[in-house]
Amino acid sequence: MCEPSGDMIKLAESVNNSKGDGAGPSAEDRITAVRDAGLLALSASETADALQEWRNQYIGRSGEVTLLLRGVGSLPAEQRAVFGQAANRLKNELEAAYDQREAVISAFTGPVGTIDVSLPGRSPAGGRLHPITQTIREITAAFGAMGFQTFEGPEVELEGYNFDAMNIPSDHPAREMFDTFWLDRVDEDGNNNLLLRTHTSPMQARIMETHEPPIRVVVPGRCYRYEATDASHEWHFNQVEVMAVDECITFADLKGTLYEFARRVFGAERKVRFRCDFFPFVEPGVDMSVDCFNCDGDPACRICRGSGWLEILGAGMVHPEVLRRAGYDPDRYTGFAAGMGVERVAMLKHGIDDIRHFYTNDMRFLSQF
């Protein structure tokens, strides 16, 4: 840094040029003189005190460079810009040289003393996202990587979408699987037709009604079921719905997609099991489980109750009746759908033993995730 920088040389040239145009020589000479003397004196400064003295003399409040800068205003207007820039460059150059010299000198003055490196550092502020938000993001990201887009839908839902569109007519015994909160509203016929959705599945119908295939969606959201709360049941919970519909979606695709999801969210070492199950809105129906995190088939395992498997989601090929009701030709399109409980996924991942923790919002719980 003791050599003039490229910029400085250019500046000097431009000042020379201005001199050729008739500017006074004194200003440029003064800058050069201050620079040469300053750099020389700096290299002669051997101690911190001497360095401080140099600083006062050249770049301090009433130092020579400062005086040069102040003098800019008194120059003829046409010279001010050029000279002002040159003086500023000088200031920067000397300051940089000073910093470098100071580092050299302090390196020779020995260590400044030890610090207690065990004392805690200053913490940056640290808030966290709710574990449910984190889990939803993990799930939607896993499917997002396979081209599934995230949609959301209404929590207050029409009976027609929640049940009928999902192939669950009013007298179907399967309605019992979905104990329902009804809203105190009646339609023109005097029927209660508004409810709190019992699952995210009605979004299958809403999305198909408003979109052309191909469809690949994930739909997270709150759901509600009229059931007593205990360690593994909540009346208020979150689900993620997954659906793919196109001209040639197969059961093998369902398996491949869900298998990939399980690897991403639960880890590549997990075993995955697909078994037959029943849901009114799919056919064939599937239950997907992963092998228990907690045990190796221990009959006394609290988490899997000895089965060695943990149910993660219900799935299946979209029922032709669901396709037909949504205006899709089931002879042309097929699809698969899956739904999973977010709380359950979070509980299994983190070993949480009581679902009620999620909505109690105790900081001692939330701050762990």
Binding site: G73, R80, G84, N88, L119, P120, S123, A125, G127, R128, L129, H130, T133, M146, G147, E152, E155, V156, L158, P173, A174, M177, F181, W182, L183, D184, L196, P214, I215, R216, Y226, E227, T229, W235, D246, C248, T250, F251, A252, D253, K255, G256, T257, Y259, R273, F274, R275, C276, D277, F278, E283, V286, H319, F358, Y359, N361, D362, M363, R364, L366
Partner: protein, 809 residues
Amino acid sequence: MKVPISWLEEYVPVTLPLDDLAHRLTMAGTEVVSIDTTLSFEGVVVGLAKEVGPHPNADRLRLVQVDAGDETLEVVCGAPNVATGQKIAFARIGSVLTDAHTGEERKLKRSKIRGVTSNGMVCSERELGMSDEHEGILVLPEGAPIGMSLGEYLGETLLDLELTPNRPDCLAVMGVAREVAALTGETATPPSIEYPEHGPDIATLAKVEIEDLDLCRRYTATLIQGVKIGPSPDWLADRLRAIGERPINNVVDVTNYVMFELGQPLHAFDFDSLSEGRIVVRRARPGETLLTLDGETRELTDDNLMIADAGKPIGLGGIIGGTESGITGSTTSVLLEAANFDGPNNRRSASKFGIRTEATLRFEKNLRPELAEYGVRRATKLILEVAGGTVASGIIDEWPDKAGAVQVVELPANAIERLLGVSYESGVVISTFEGLGMEVVSNNGAYSVTPPYWRPDIGIPEDLIEELARVIGYEKIPTTGITGSVPVWEPNPDRVLREAMKNILSRFGMQETISYSLTTPEAEAHARPPGHGLQPLQVMNPLSAEHATLRTTLRHSILTVLSRNARIWRGPLWMFESGRVYLDRGEGVGLPDEPEKFVGVVAGPRSDLEWMSGEPESSDFYDAKGIVESLLSEFGVTASFVPVEENTFEPGRCAQIVIPSAGRAVIGVLGEVASDVLSTFDIDTAPVAMFELDVEAIARLPELQSLGQQDYVPFGRFPDSSRDLALVIDDNAPAADVLALAERNRLVVSATVFDVYQGDAIPSGKKSLAVRVVYQAPDRTLTADELIKAENSILRALEHNFGAELRAR
């Protein structure tokens, strides 16, 4: 559904080890929850009452010498039915029994009863927890081996099945046997229905009319005369006990047994109680009542299907019988009913009367009418065997709409591959379907399949494909990725914004919380939110009074969470919730609005306790404001904060968040929560700053439309200069206005307050403001003259507008 293995083996050979069988069943959809190997009666063994004699001090007690296999013990017994030579359930000292009076479990101790030591107990069914029967002791069959543990003797190995609602066939042992046969390649053999018919033609004795065919498709009946009602033989009673049913009498037990064996519910009437020997199946007439077997008088309506005789109601079809027509000890003629009742109607009536029986569990799943005849013949055969009598010739069979019964499902060529992604040779397909009892006609890759009557769930090609897949095994189907085009990307800016806001707030040190969306108007009112002019949406059937309406504000949610944590958490209480409120649009306007909101509270210490700074200060309004400002600045939005009064907040300490660039759109509110609101929530931490933001309003701001697309603006290459001003200005002049005025000067790049002071040396009604002003020009280094000129011009403007005076430069 519990299935004893010995019962299952009557219809199908069990060739796999039970664990493997359970696995196959589970994978194919019939989940085996557990294999229960034995009943357990701790310490209880089969004993022989070698000798029964009188008790020396009590007339109603006996002394029994019990041979327990390894020793003979004397016990005191109070049961009237104990007799020499009986095999009995003997509880040794230390056995765990159910107390006959309190119903609680307790450990049997050695005790003296009226002066005689009792070395154990001869048990009743109630003490063993098997039934409520405690009048007499449980007498075991003669062949019971002395000394064997009772659990081992009475116990059965059971499969405990969890069934899906589509498989009523597996609500029967025979159905499970068929499933086992299909999955293991065995053949299931149904039980015999052959019996002699020596009585007169049934048509000459009894008559059945179905008036309401929509609720009863088929009604079959047989008549057995000369039966002798009594206890069931051991094999029958034991089977019922093994699956948790209580034996009643031989005829009723047979109807129960056949329901569990074949899945067809049955009912036995005392034929002699039926007026004119006639059965009429019809809707109840308004005002009709029926005293049912459980002792309740039921008021009936025309929604209820009634079984009547020539005059009066005698039973609720498929739900429960009437008392008057029930089987009693003196019944000699039994009319046995096996009918096909309408599922939905049966289910509605049963739930209206609060009777949830095994019969409804089956009827509601729409059994096929074919099952009725098989059921009635099977039960008739068993009644003959266990209760004697003579069967009238023939059966009554009212089945007017027989034609509609058979249903062929057409499975087109390539349908299997199209849905599963894999094809199977026709030999595999045909043998799989036939193994499930289906009739198959194959034609050039297509199949015409007739499902058996016990599989009412199979009606479309996809059902058949599931059958094929589950029998072959889902695990054998290949795993592929989706091919085909990826859907067109559809932006969702509101959601992206909401998630980004969550990230930013958590980065700023706020913890996300999530609260229930159901609450009550009273609870919400505690936070005193501004009204919406509409009633909250009400849940008709709330689980609890405190979760009865959908929330219209998040303020109550976050203050409740703050209240919960204020006493237990020492660190910063900086928390936010992102969620919906639910706003009714009025009757008949369809779905409500569900706008997304953010609410945050900032309270407690500003940081955790740290060694370099000592006790942290309380966080306050300006922490919350800084969060809001920085949040908005991430989206390039600059807000101004306009004083406003809202009931939630302390007077004079609340501001609307206004966006000048968007026509002064209001996107939220920020303030210090009023102290009486805090005390309502039992929050003793103060101050509590709170903000509320409207996601949709932010998403609509012009800055958000071009987010991520802003053009690069070259930054100043010439040095800037900063100069500080110490101003004394009117107390009520907003600092923001002072800064805005300073920044209006074209040489000023920024003006920042770095100190606010009131007190000594400052006149009252005034405040001191220290402002650092940074000057810069894009095209040159500013001269000292220029700086001073600019500064003077700013000072003049400040003096003119706010009476500002310079304290120091």
